[in-house]
Amino acid sequence: MKKALIPLSLLIVLALQGVAIEIATSFTSMQDVYIIAHWVLVFVICISLLFDSESSYYGIVYGVIFGLLIDIVYTDMLGTYMLGYGLTMFILQGVKHVFFTNIYTTMLMVAVGIMVADLFIHGIYAMVGIVDIPFWVYVWTRLLPTVLANLIFLIVLYPFVYRRFPRWRMEYTDGK
């Protein structure tokens, strides 16, 4: 039962991020600044840092699966988020052992992860021709606000997971 909790909460986060964007746009109507909610990625990075043990790859696997789900639900262009999130988690998997995990390193990882993923997705969209704006305009109006907004989500999320995830990991490894 507990094993299903993580994918289930990821699915709910996936659904909520669309609702949140809808509310944010209807309240602020900020048209010059674009914020993209990468909540699923933030959650997956938390899984990778707090739940994954040395030899498990839940972060990458969830990144790929829920990247694909985002593609299906929100974008109609399959594969971009899947590869973007998968690649990001793959890179973080290599880097994460350098740091001791606390809120600051998690924030750093999330910021870097979102930048990598968003740059990658923007790259693919630019290649296919969906997006056509100068690079620095993109950085100032879309990338930086996106990173900041998602860090706020991380700060909200972190208290819920930073004790819970390591405890679940212990339960899993004990059970095996």
Binding site: G18, I21, T25, I72, V73, M77, L78, I130
Partner: protein
């Protein structure tokens, strides 16, 4: 260790091949989603709808509070308007009856203007904001089909992009590109102006209306642009926006008008999906043939 590296490399390459395949598959023009896609977007849509119920209560609560403040003044103005509308209503009824009688005379059942409406709520917006898509809570089960027009009380907001059983995705006007054109018209007393809305210009924040048939007098700022129904998909008479500026195109041969959309694309809650009564052009051809046969029979009878 080297075996493990090889395995990782292998998985990575296979992943890239799959992704390129998926992108190629999804770049095709497809209006109907595949079965697993429908299932997933329906599931997510279900959760979103559940989340939306309390949110809607809170939203209406706050908007009620702000409404109460203006109520007194609004009420005064509205009372005046209501008395105006009463006379309009009678006029309208008379005209409608007349219209129906006239239509019977010329044996025309449906016009381009008539449509069935399907009420829906916006439940989510694509986090990938490049795409300008929103999700609504009605799907194929409620009769929504791809390419139907979507309007709010103010005017047109977009068209249905893809449909699942209980939810569907709407492409907003701000995301329209050269593949989503709308036949549009500006009503004049003497001679209407016809044109095609080609795409949304993000820099100017306006829709580009390429004018095909001009009138003698120039377009003026503030004139209302309506859909003409000639594109074969949308009904006629849906308000799209107002003329902001007229510019010549790059060769100076035709003119392009910048249209400001009538509806606010950033605050959409309740929408109406418009189902044109008259068959759309990609409908079944059999029906048209049958109609022709009936027409012929009628002619025979007359003879």
């Amino acid at each position: 260790m080297s075996f493990f590296r090889k395995k990782q490399m292998f998985i990575f390459l296979i992943g890239i091949i799959i992704v390129i395949g998926l992108i190629g598959y999804s770049l095709q023009d497809r209006s109907k989603r595949s079965l697993p896609e429908q299932f997933i977007s329906d599931t997510v849509g279900f959760i979103q709808q559940g989340v939306n119920i309390p949110i809607r209560y809170v939203k209406t609560f706050f908007s009620n509070i702000s409404n109460v403040k203006d109520t007194y003044n609004e009420n005064k103005i509205l009372k005046e308007k209501v008395s105006e509308y009463k006379t309009l209503l009678y006029d309208n009824q008379i005209l409608e009856e007349e219209n129906e009688e006239l239509k019977k005379l010329i044996a025309q059942q449906d016009s381009l203007h008539e449509y069935d409406s399907i009420q829906a709520n916006v439940i989510a917006r694509s986090p990938e904001r490049w795409l300008h898509q929103v999700t609504i809570n009605k799907g194929a089960d409620a009769g929504v089909e791809a390419n139907m027009a979507v309007i709010t009380a103010d005017g047109m907001v977009g068209k249905v992009l893809s449909v699942s059983h209980n939810s569907s995705t709407v492409q907003l006007l701000t995301g329209f590109d050269e593949f989503n054109r709308i036949a549009a018209t500006i009503k004049r007393d003497d001679k209407d102006v016809y044109g095609v809305i080609e795409q949304y210009d993000e820099e100017r924040e306006a829709l580009l209306l390429k004018i095909i048939e001009e009138s003698d007098s120039d377009l003026e700022k503030g004139e209302v642009v309506l859909s003409s129904g000639m594109g074969g998909v949308f009904p006629s008479g849906l308000p799209i926006g107002e003329v902001e500026e007229v510019i010549p195109d790059q060769y100076g041969l035709t003119k392009t008008a910048l249209i400001k959309p009538a509806a606010n694309m950033y605050a959409i809650h309740h929408v109406i999906v418009v189902d044109r009564k008259l068959d759309t052009t990609d409908g079944e051809e059999e029906e048209i043939i049958e109609d022709e046969e009936e027409d012929n029979e009628e002619k025979d009878d007359e003879e």
